[in-house]
C-alpha cells in the first residue's frame, strides 16, 4: 500500500507545514527524516524542522513576491517535484551512547515509577538500558531529544505537578517517550536518571549532541563514574 499523501498546510507567511500523519510512530518518523534529507539536498535554500510526523519548512516570503501564484503553492510544487524524483539518500545513522546514573538523587522519580509500573527498580533500569532508541525530533529547548523506542512496559503519564527546575542531564519518561533535559528547565516528565554528558553547547559545532535520526543507547553508570565523566566534561 502506498503511504498516505503529504498534507500541505500554509501556517504562516514564511512557513509551510508538510504533514505525513498524525501519530507518534517509527515508520512515519522515518518518512519525515527521509524527506528532510532529500529536501535539504535538493532545495537547500530553505530551512527544515522535522517533528514526529511533520516537517516545517521556512522560507523568505519577500523573495517570492511578484509571482502569479502564492509562494506557498509554488513551494508545494517544488517539494513534490523534489520528493517525486524517487532518489532516496542513504544516510549513515549515528549511534550515541549516553551514560546514565539511575541511582538516588539522580533518578528522583524512580521509586514511584517502579511502584506505578509494578516492577522492581532494577527491572525498570534493565528495561530502560536494553532498548534502542531513535531521536524522533529535537524540540522544547535547545538540544532536547524526543526519543522513540521506549519499552511499552515503561510508559507512564507525566507528573501531575511539573517541576520548576529539572536538573540538566535528567533522563525522563513522558508517556511513551523518553527524553533528556539538556539544561536546567521546568518539566513534568518522570525523572529516572541523569547523564553527565552535555547535550547542548552553543560554542560547539554542531551545538546539539544529538540530531533527529540518531540512534541512542543508555548505559548504566554508578555515582563515581558520573562524577568522573562530569569532571571530564568541564575540562
Amino acid at each position: 500500500m502506498d503511504p498516505a499523501p503529504i498534507q500541505f498546510e500554509p501556517i504562516a507567511e514564511d512557513a509551510l507545514l508538510l504533514r505525513f500523519g498524525e501519530r507518534m510512530d517509527a515508520a512515519l518518523n522515518e518518512r519525515v527524516r527521509a524527506a528532510v534529507l532529500t529536501l535539504r539536498h535538493q532545495l537547500p535554500r530553505f530551512e527544515y524542522i522535522p517533528a514526529y510526523a511533520s516537517v516545517l519548512m521556512r522560507f523568505d516570503p519577500l523573495a517570492c513576491h511578484g509571482a502569479t501564484i502564492s509562494s506557498h503553492e509554488a513551494l508545494q510544487r517544488e517539494v513534490l517535484a523534489a520528493l517525486g524524483k524517487g532518489e532516496a539518500l542513504i544516510h549513515a545513522l549515528r549511534e550515541q551512547e549516553i551514560p546514565v546514573c539511575y541511582r538516588g538523587a539522580y533518578g528522583p522519580d524512580l521509586p514511584q515509577v517502579a511502584q506505578y509500573l509494578d516492577l522492581p527498580i532494577d527491572e525498570v533500569i534493565t528495561r530502560h538500558v536494553s532498548a534502542e532508541y531513535q531521536v524522533a525530533m529535537i524540540g522544547f529547548a535547545p538540544g532536547f531529544p524526543y526519543l522513540l523506542g521506549l519499552d511499552p512496559a515503561l510508559a507512564m503519564p507525566r507528573r501531575r505537578d511539573p517541576r520548576q527546575r529539572v536538573p540538566a542531564g535528567s533522563v525522563g519518561i513522558g508517556g511513551v517517550q523518553s527524553g533528556i533535559y539538556p539544561d536546567q528547565l521546568p518539566g513534568g516528565w518522570q525523572l529516572i536518571g541523569r547523564t553527565p554528558l552535555r547535550l547542548f553547547d552553543a560554542t560547539a559545532t554542531p551545538p546539539s549532541l544529538l540530531a533527529a535520526g540518531d540512534l541512542v543507547r543508555f548505559r548504566a553508570i554508578d555515582e563515581n563514574e558520573f562524577r568522573h565523566l562530569e569532571a571530564e566534561q568541564l575540562r
Binding site: 501556517i11 504562516a12 527544515y48 517533528a51 514526529y52 524540540g139 529547548a141 535547545p142 546539539s208
Partner: protein
Amino acid sequence: MSVSVLKPGLLSTIQDAGRPGHAAAGVGRAGAMDIPAWRLANALVGNRGGEAALECTLLGPTLRFEQAGWIALTGAPIPAHIGAFHVPPWTACRISAGSVLELGGMAVGCRSYLAVRGGLNVPPVLGSRSTDLHARLGHHGGRALQAGDVLPIGPLSDVHAEADTDSIHALSWGLDPQPWFDFASSAITLCHGSHWPHLAPAAQERVYGSRFSVGQDSNRTASRLDGQRLQLRAPLELISEAALPGTVQLPPSGHPIVLMAEAPVTGGYPRIGQVAAVDLPRLAQRRPGDAVCFRHDTLERAVVRLNEREQALNAMLAQVAQRLQRDGLIRA
C-alpha cells in the same frame, strides 16, 4: 567604546534580528519583539543594519556612555534625559563622553529600542547577539541586563571622524512614530490555523466578537490572553510539531497563548490561528492589561500586507540614510 549599566530597568535585553537556521537543534530565533522599531533605531544612528540594540521593557535602564557617540530611541515612547537635556524619541542624538542616560517608564506600549552607533558589540552566539531568555543564549548566558554590566560598542569604521566635542544635542529632524507605533491599539489580524474548525462555534464567535486582555504572565516567549475562555468541540490529542512566533495555541485552560519572539520550536497544543506577521510587532507593544481584539484575514492577504510594510520600511530606511548623508553623519 563601552556603555555601563547603572540601573538595569525592568527587563532590558540585547536584541538583533535573532538566530534563524537552528530550529532543528531546538534553538528558536528570538530577536527583537518589534523588528521595524529596532531597524529604524539602527537607521537613525547611521548603523548599516543588523547591529544589536537594547530592548527595554516598560521601565528603561540608566546607562553611562564612556565615550561620545550617537543614540536613538524608537518603539514605545519613553521619557529620556541626560541631566537637564530631554532626549527626543525617534531622533538621533549626540551624546558626550560620560553622558548618563536616564530612561523612565513608558506611559503606553511595552517595548522601546535604544540603538547606539556601532551597535552593542557583545560576542555573538550561533550568529546572533540576541538574548534568548527562554533558551539562555546570548549576553552573559542569556540574561537581562544587570547593574554593573559593561557593554562594548562596535567600531564606527565607515563614519566620518568627528570632533570629540562635549556637546549633547538632537538632530533637527526625527521620524513620525506612526505608522510604526500603533497608538490606536487596532485589531490584530488572525489567520486561521489547522485546528480552527475544532473550536466550538460559540468559541469561534468569541474570538472575533469580544475583547481579550494581555495576561500578567506574558513575556518574550508568549502573550497570554485572558478575558475569554475558548472551548474545543471535543478534546484533541496531538503530537508535538513545529511552532512559530505568531502561532495562537489553545492549552487546556481555554485561554489562548500567542507565541512571540522566543517561541519554543515545537509545541503540542491545538493551533487555532496565526497572527499576521505585520501585526506581531503591534501585539508585542501591548502590555499586561491592554486589550486585544482580533479580525480575520487570509494568509494570502497577510503576505501582501507584509510586502507592503517591508517596502514602506525599506523606503523609510533609505530616506533616513540619505538625510544622514546630507547632514554629513554618514558617508555616501
